[in-house]
């Protein structure tokens, strides 16, 4: 399969990239890791007039924690960088758990977190994770930068809130106030397949009391689901068997799965409830064992 013909530019600066997008007038696409866009081009689901390859832009391959605890992931930070990160296991156990489950090891060499968020596939892992963490996307356009919460950024299946002349330059995770904990679990038929269902849970704890919670669901709706009621049911409470079961039930109710070749709607709801319960149980067990690596003080 060949992609359709397009014009190709590989700018050396963000300003140049933005100018190219402007010149494209809505017929241009940004190429980052290319692990979704190149297959879409080959299948002729996308046929942009101009491809703006941002892989040569300097200084976008970072992921780092600012002095105030904000976690920033640059547009060219690859999945593999997050998989091997020494920062994430302590700063965000949810992200650390998700990174090795994205696609397959070879796709992870090239694909990027920010690109995955822009692609806005309802079955993409990172959108659920960043939703659970209450993160945002920083978009840069001709008039400067703006920050868009990920819940507003993903506007539908394969749709995002970027203007045609904006580049998503980084994802931002706000600082944590308590002990960070959480996880990501995904059911897939084989490595690299789209998720049958996935659950991201991100918590902040004060002692054994939950002070902030976020739950994002992968692959069980027409876009990423923010299970706010399930998350809210945890706040202000310890992770008892009762609160865990309550959150699991609410998360399953928030899912909007469809029966398909990966499973029935009822089965997918059951997976969501099981995964929420499982992640919360693991967090609860590890918080009772001081020094366990799966939950850590926030930076």
């Amino acid at each position: 399969m060949y992609p359709p013909r397009f014009r190709y530019e590989a700018p050396r600066s963000i300003d140049e990239a933005i100018a190219l997008l402007q010149s494209g007038g809505g017929e241009a696409k940004v190429l980052a890791g290319g692990q979704s866009l190149v297959p879409l081009l080959k299948l002729r689901f996308a046929s942009p007039e101009l491809l703006v390859d941002i892989n040569n832009l300097p200084g976008l391959d970072y992921h780092r924690v600012d002095a105030d605890g904000t976690l920033r992931i640059g547009a060219l930070c690859r999945h593999v960088d997050l998989e091997r990160s020494t920062i994430l296991p302590t700063r965000s156990p949810t992200m650390a758990a998700a990174a090795p489950l994205v696609a397959d090891p070879i796709v992870r060499t090239r694909g990027t977190l920010v690109g995955s968020l822009c692609h806005a596939d309802p079955q993409g892992d990172w959108a659920a994770v960043v939703t659970a963490l209450g993160g945002s996307i920083v978009a840069q356009g001709p008039n400067g930068r703006r920050t868009i919460p990920v819940a507003d950024f993903v506007t539908g299946p394969f749709q995002n809130a970027l203007a045609y002349d904006e580049v998503a330059v980084e994802a931002v995770i706000p600082p944590a106030k308590g002990t960070v904990a959480g996880g990501y679990l995904k059911l897939e038929r084989r490595v690299g397949d789209f998720a049958t269902a996935g659950v991201a849970v991100a918590l902040e704890l004060n002692g054994s009391t939950v002070t902030r919670a976020g739950i994002g669901l992968t692959g069980v709706g027409s876009s990423t689901i923010n299970a706010t009621e399930a998350a809210q049911a945890l706040v202000g409470k310890p992770l008892s068997a009762e609160t865990r079961a309550g959150a699991a039930e609410l998360a399953a109710a928030a899912a909007q799965p469809k029966t398909d070749h990966r499973g029935t709607a009822a089965y997918k709801r059951h997976i969501v409830a099981t995964f929420v319960e499982r992640i919360l149980t693991r967090v609860d067990e590890s918080t009772q064992l001081p020094g366990n690596g799966s939950t850590q003080r926030a930076a």
């Binding site: 397009f6 290319g34 190149v38």
Partner: protein, 185 residues
């Protein structure tokens, strides 16, 4: 300089712009004219006649087209050839000379790591990327590193054994582990 343009596609209209790119393939600098939509896998196979890199699923699932890009494994059917400008690409032909076998190839020979052989170049390149970083992997680590490469013949058992055997061969050839390359990411 090779013109790949008409060789690969139907004769192209003369107004379609091409780009001149220089890629180091298996240690050799190659300068070629490519149309931007040309995929790296097609440049390697059709343009440079390096047919060891296979295209299987053509949708980024199977990993038969895996090559090393600056030392890291990528699916060459999912990268544009223009994106390789100024970079290093290693294909299965780059593992060893024509009359010798790389320890990874020895491993596959010793442990019967292939049947039809279609997935083998991709498996070997994924294995190379693993062993460059981790000269003494566990069975689980081998399975994890090869989980982006599909084989429809072997059931994977002998492929995993082959990579473990290759690791052994490479360690005994280089007991100090001096060939270990880390931090390609």
């Amino acid at each position: 300089m090779t013109s790949l343009f008409e060789e690969i596609h139907e004769p192209a209209p003369t107004d379609v712009p091409t780009r001149r790119v220089t890629i180091t393939v298996n240690g050799q600098r190659r300068t070629v004219e490519v149309e931007p939509r040309l995929l790296l896998a097609h440049l390697l196979r059709h343009g440079l006649r390096l047919t060891g890199t296979h295209t299987g699923c053509d949708t980024s699932n199977c990993g038969a087209c895996t090559v090393l890009f600056d030392g890291a494994p990528i699916k060459s059917c999912t990268m544009l050839a223009v994106q390789a400008d100024g970079h290093e690409v290693t294909t299965v032909e780059g593992l060893a000379g024509p009359s010798e076998l790389h320890p990874i190839q020895e491993g596959f020979k010793d442990e019967h790591g292939l049947q039809c052989g279609f997935c083998t170049p991709g498996m070997m390149m994924a294995a190379k990327a693993l062993l460059d970083r981790n000269p003494d992997p566990t069975e689980e680590e081998v399975r994890f590193a090869l989980s982006g490469n599909l084989c429809r013949c072997t059931g994977y058992q002998n492929i995993v054994k082959s990579v473990l055997r290759a690791a052994e061969l490479m360690r005994s050839a280089d007991p100090a582990g001096k060939t270990t390359v880390d931090g390609w990411a």
